[in-house]
Amino acid sequence: MQYVIIGGGIAGTTAAEELRKADEMAEITIIDEEAHACYSRVLLPHYITGKVLRDKVFLRSEKWYVEQRIERLAGTIVTGIDTKNNFVTIHTGRELPYDKLLLATGGQLNLAVTDPKGVCYLQTLDDADGIVARLAEVKRLPVPQQRAVIIGGGFISLEFINIFAQFNLPTTVVLRGDGFWSRVLSTQAKEVLARQAVNKGVQVLTGQREVLSVGESEVSGVQLGDGTVLPASIVGVGLGTHADKSLFEEAGVLMKSGILANSYLETNVPNVYAAGDAAEFEHPLLGRQMHIGNWLNAQMQGKAVAKTMTGERTEFSLVSSYSTNLLGLHVVFIGDTNREFAGEVRSHKATETSSVDLYTRNDKIVGAVLVGDLVDRAAITKAIQEQRSTL
């Protein structure tokens, strides 16, 4: 049996490991755009702030792939997928035949309109290395020039806020909408987060469109729509990700915001599967196609899809959550927090410093956002799993 996996992140690598456990004789190949062995993206902020050493972010060694007899094609781009004749073509022209193909390509970064040197993204280890180098340069500048701007208001934006705070950089966050996660959170939750940012000395500008990083050879600031320029020697960009559709669509794989899959992570094309941030899968408990981008979801989908690929068809029904913090204020997302698909968003708790909102559909709790008060986290997760309408 020949297994080909496109993507060497946690979904693809976990799948490879499980495939090997299930099939001693199989040929397993991971095609990875990145040069590095599998590492934890979640540890990158800890690496940047010096909490862990760089070599501690790795989850697998080069030796592990050899021992597991998993071929890893590093720094390799897929140029074509032929699902009729079952082979994948890579940039060197090599063709890799497959019996089963897993698409675990993650998300493609949404780039800023302009990104001169000093404008940073935070998706890969290379990005993190770049941030570490840039921060060292920034700290050598005269103090008044040590200023940061962040564009975007989601998970990565919060990581940048926490990182820049560690380096004592005065920071301004520029948001397109009316707050952090503007299309997800309730007004109350947005206010709690904005208050926390401001109380900790972070300036927050909402409703900003046409935002441009400016600078000659490197970034000197961020220009707003009205022409104002916020001076900055480092800019963090967190504008989310999108799916790179052309390669898969040409191969006949159906896509929406991600690669469409059923609850077994099977795509519409026989012997082609999807897992991790790239997959938009039918969630049996949440009752709709979900496109989830968090660590546990990706890892557990890697495990589940490997079972299905080796013949033990396994439905994926995990209700995953993700947690972050804004300068010490905890933020947790559980289940389905997409407002478009929520019948109602109910305020469960609301104070000056905290908010808990429940997202319901057909009177069942399907998701929640907890800010500053995590007491009910376990109870809410259970209610979602048990498809209940109350805690």
Partner: protein, 84 residues
């Protein structure tokens, strides 16, 4: 058999993946850190486990995106993270 489980609260970011995978062993505390369930929940504990429980606990540790959970066997050998 016995397992020694150690959580580094400094690395833990409260993702709660361990709680999702091994809810009999891990829970979140008020600081949004994982801790090991017991009469007095703590960041370090020695547990008597069977083979199935051991596998679940190791899977819980493996699910941690910040490698905040370390597992030792009764001889002090580190079972997870394996030395990368």
């Amino acid at each position: 058999m016995k397992l020694r489980i150690v959580i580094d609260p400094d690395l833990c970011i409260g993702a709660a993946s361990c709680v999702t995978i091994a809810p009999e062993t891990f829970q979140m505390n008020m600081d949004n850190k994982a801790e090991i369930i017991g009469p007095a929940p703590s960041y370090e504990r020695i547990l008597e486990v069977n083979e199935e429980e051991k596998n679940t606990i190791i899977m819980g540790a493996q699910s941690c995106p910040t490698l905040a959970i370390t597992i030792f066997d009764e001889d002090g050998k580190q079972l997870y993270p394996e030395n990368v």
